[in-house]
């Protein structure tokens, strides 16, 4: 029984006078307790929308999200009972309140979990910051430190599922892998699941047990990290991995994936990747492959 299961989820963004944008178009995903799932894809493919829907921040158009056997309800003005899901946002400069002490903000999380024993300083210690930082304001910290504070705040609520929505992309290269590792260690130690969203495959590879690759609102490939990395099967995953430049000093330019991500208002007929796919066949243009773990006609299950 998985902790979180997203089943055929559809999320549409509607704005007056414009056609509805189907940001997530039938995505299915599961996260088990103590498991780290990395969700990767180009910008605009719907990964953040998926994460926000899981948190109840975006209304669901169709499909279902269940957390621990209970459906996830939209986040509204009423007090929420479902505090088992906590999120760490992309930009720690915007997600912390600049006018409140760091300790008070972490204490909000503790209050959510009705935890009267732990002090905010304990949590700061767990994310690798000195205890006395609780009495400071967010502007006194660097990006990496702020993101650690945001993680401490999320952990304070004792989540069983932690979601990181591009939690490292606003940080320096030197802080990125540290913060990513910290999130993994803390989540796994607490026995919580972690859904880690990033467009940086090299970091996801470092921390995730499983990788889900998303393209234009659909998950095109899911698999164990090592397997996907060593033997990517979907042409899109192959292209993504090939585009990463290697710091080997050889001067090899990364391979380019021709074309741009199509407009999600008007996705291509058939397989969504077919206009950019090097192995496109007739069946790809007409019919969308709706099976897993590799949604590609080349890997049709028999």
């Amino acid at each position: 029984m998985s902790l979180l299961s997203v089943d055929d989820l559809v999320v549409e963004h509607r704005s007056p006078g414009r056609p509805a944008v189907r940001a997530v178009a039938g995505a299915s995903l599961t996260v088990s307790a103590g498991e780290v799932v990395g969700l990767v894809g180009e910008s605009g493919c719907g990964k953040s929308t998926l994460a926000r829907a899981v948190c109840g921040l975006n209304p669901v158009t169709a499909g279902s999200i269940t957390f621990d056997g209970q459906p996830v309800t939209p986040l509204g003005l009423r007090r929420r009972r479902l505090t088992g899901i906590q999120m760490v946002f992309q930009d720690p400069y915007a997600s912390l309140n600049p006018r409140r002490l760091v300790g008070d903000q972490v204490a909000d999380g503790l209050r959510t979990a009705r935890d009267t024993v732990t002090s905010p300083a304990d949590l700061l210690e767990r994310v690798g910051l000195p205890r006395e930082f609780a009495g400071r304001h967010p502007h006194e910290f660097s990006g990496g430190q702020r993101q650690r504070i945001a993680i401490a705040r999320a952990l304070a609520a004792r989540p069983r599922l932690l979601i990181g929505d591009e939690p490292i992309s606003a940080l320096d290269a030197s802080a990125q892998s540290q913060v990513a590792r910290l999130m993994r260690d803390l989540a796994v130690d607490a026995g919580a699941g972690l859904l880690f969203i990033s467009h940086d495959l090299s970091v996801v590879r470092l921390i995730a047990d499983r990788i889900a690759v998303m393209y234009l609102g659909r998950i095109v490939e899911v698999g164990d990290t090592a397997e996907v990395w060593a033997d990517p099967r979907h042409p899109y995953t192959k292209a993504l991995l090939r585009a990463i430049p290697k710091p080997d000093g050889m001067g090899v330019l990364p391979a380019e994936l021709p074309g741009d991500v199509p407009d999600p208002v008007n996705p291509p007929q058939g397989c969504r990747f077919h206009p950019r796919c090097p192995h496109v066949m007739d069946v790809c243009r007409g019919k969308e492959p709706d099976f897993g773990p590799v949604a590609c006609w080349l890997h049709e299950p028999r």
Partner: protein
Amino acid sequence: MTLEISGLKVSIGGKEILRGVDLGLAAGRVHGLAGESGSGKTMTGLAVLGLLPHGARASGTVRLGERDLLALPAKELNRVRGGEVAMVFQDPATSLHPMLTIGRQLTEHMRHHLRLGRTEAKERAVELLGKVRIPGPAQAYGRFPHQFSGGMRQRIAIAIALACSPKVLIADEPTTALDVTVQAGVLRLLRGLCDELGLAVLLVTHDLGVMSAVADEVSVMKDGLVVESGPRGRVLREPAHAYTRSLLGSLPGAGTAEPGGPGDPGGPGAGPAPEGER
């Protein structure tokens, strides 16, 4: 050397940001400048063009041909900026003017620096858009930045920088805001333009993978000083300085199996993939 920076020191409010930087850029070569944020990479790029923030004091020399850019009066520096030395910034969403068409932004400095007429400037602009591989350059000329994707915008920013045939291009984290797939295209473009037009490029980036892909020489900065400098292959494979080693060691997946597997690195329609030492 097309551009030679020697003993460049910059201080802001009594605090020394750069403490004597020496760099040389040669025509047709990409010089990579690596280091973590706060090490002074960006400041070095800005100092060359006299774009330092208010209250900053710069000393040392930045030689472009016979002239010292740091000692030039503002009026003459204006002739160099955008003309002989051009710059590409990190975020194309903020470096392009949202309310002017691409064409207007591409021709403005050409008309000023090269004294071109309206039609000549337009012809050249369309040609440049084609060169940076914008589909339908003639139609793109009249569009606004918001009508393009991030990768396209960065290509346009590069086209703007190249408009007056500069000798030196300073690219400050040109691909950091882009996805890996888009980054690959922009890097290929930069490398191709450098080889084709004989540009001297200063590529400021924190991504050693990017550095390895396009740079010929690599310099590593720490706390306002260049700690290591040399050919790409040597610096990235046999780093002499402990700091370079620690930078390489902090990369995710350092020292483990190569990603991607044995795939064809070029692929159909891809540009030339330079192999090995250049």
